[in-house]
Amino acid sequence: MYGIREKTSFNDPSREAEKEVRLVSSAERSVKTTTASRVVLDATDITRALTRIAHEILERNKGPDDVILLGIPRRGVPLAHRMAKVMAKVEGTEVPSGSLDVTMYRDDLRLRPARTLEPTDIPGHGVDGALVVLVDDVLFSGRTVRAALDALGDLGRPRGVQLAVLVDRGHRELPIRADFVGKNLPTSLAERVTVTLAETDAVDAVVISPAEGGIS
């Protein structure tokens, strides 16, 4: 009865680093096969997208005042730090960035084995009155963002919350949209989108691969 959730939850353990690195290399190798994984964003594309989003955040909020970037573990966190660096360079002031673990707020805890918790690190004086920009790698069902909003509510009362994602692959299950998107990727539900980052997986890339045998 929970088969659909199995497929659509995207922070699942099968997206472990090793597997994703393997997907990248297999994508590079298999030029001939049409069903193979393909790289949709490489390291330069990712850097460009993050730089543009950083500028958009500054533009939308008329500067970096009160802005806090909170990445959702695991791959949202390095993205948040990178964007904060770009913003600091542009504006000449430090932009705080941290991480927000949403594991304990997920709606699928009863459906899968216990997950390991990731650190929550709120920079500065907390989120009260701040303009929080949530950062994640892939926006899919929207359930992770829902959990993040709940987690944020328990930490304080931000002045506003915005959402920045590197990739929006569609198939939303909740009324949630991103304010800043690196790239819109039309995908089928069967496909798998994996993001690898230098900080966590040694390589910067976004890869689309066809469903593996088990998922259907």
Binding site: Y2, M104, L109, R110, E118, T120
Partner: protein
């Protein structure tokens, strides 16, 4: 993590580290304005206490409530147990009420194991101390406290002193700390060391002074008068002189060494008041850490469905 937590002996190094790492993240909750997580909403945790307890029961209750579980407290006094109800009938009652986890403390060693394996209840069973057997969550919180002060426990020297014979804390700690790579020394009078201690992964000694010089932490055990049905040592005064942590022995400890006690303390008996209240005593911190560790245990045992849990119903942690 598997279905039940009955004994430190069942924990692999990875299991133990998972609990400790999870507790590390959960401990920061104590510093937040809202000290509550919605994780176990709608789940029921029963605290089934056949023996007296302050710390452990309150700690489990706080842990379950911070995870939003419903808590039912049951103590043998004032319940039908005093009318002669058996463990089985009590368990069937809990099962009928739909308990998801049963935290049990019992005077008889093995009662939690019986509850977990008899088929009386489908819930997860957490051992909160059974007779003179084990008290695994105490060992986990001690390991957690040690890790916060000493870092990785591999190669660290931990001295456990006192009434090892009657201590479920000593057994659980000795097994868990050995699993985590620490070198454990048990110090006790010969009458208070259990039969078969040579099979434990520890060293033993009868002389406290020689064991103090190089240790990284010393854990004092309570002298359990209520379980002593024979003369195990000539007098309290003699015990205190030979095995108590007094000011003189405290001065001989290395500067970084910490002092622990699972509580309740007999001040003046196994530990002097000055030592218990010193800055290097982490006895109060142990209680704070207990809540985080028990939250981690409840979270790891209760999240995840039967279908998602690897292994079968019989899997015992």
């Amino acid at each position: 993590m598997r279905r039940h937590l009955l004994s430190s002996a069942d924990l692999t190094r990875d299991d133990a580290l998972q609990v400790l790492d999870t507790a590390e993240e959960l401990r920061s909750l104590a510093d937040r304005p809202i000290k509550k997580l919605p994780t176990l909403r709608g789940r029921t945790v029963v605290n089934l206490f056949f023996e007296d307890s302050t710390r452990t029961r309150i700690s489990f209750e706080a842990a379950a409530k911070r995870l939003s579980a419903d808590v039912i407290n049951f103590s043998a006094k004032g319940s039908s147990v005093s009318k002669g109800e058996s463990l089985k009938d009590t368990a069937l009652t809990l099962e009928a009420m739909g308990a998801d986890a049963v935290v049990i403390r019992h005077g008889s060693s093995g009662a939690p194991h019986r509850l977990a394996t008899s088929g009386w209840v489908r819930s997860s069973v957490v051992n909160a101390g059974d007779g003179t057997h084990e008290h695994p969550t105490q060992a986990l919180l001690d390991a957690f406290t040690l890790r916060r002060h000493l870092g990785d426990l591999a190669g660290r020297r931990i001295t456990i002193v006192g009434d090892v014979l009657h201590s479920r804390v000593a057994r659980s700690n000795a097994l868990l700390l050995a699993t985590l790579g620490a070198e454990v020394t048990l110090v006790a009078p010969p009458t208070l060391l259990p039969v078969g201690v040579s099979a434990w992964p520890v060293q033993t000694s009868y002389d406290l002074d020689s064991a103090l010089d190089k240790c990284d932490a010393v854990m004092m055990l309570r002298v359990q008068h209520e379980r002593m049905n024979a003369a195990f040592f000539p007098s309290a005064r003699e015990y205190s002189r030979r095995y108590g942590l007094d000011d003189r022995r405290f001065d001989r400890l290395p500067d970084h060494a910490i002092v622990m006690h699972p509580g309740p303390m007999n001040r003046g008996m196994e530990i002097s008041a000055t030592v218990a209240d010193s800055t290097r005593s982490v006895i109060v911190e142990q209680v704070t850490n207990g809540v985080a560790v028990r939250m981690a245990v409840l979270y790891l045992l209760l999240s995840g469905s039967d279908a998602a849990r690897p292994g079968t119903e019989e899997a015992v942690l």
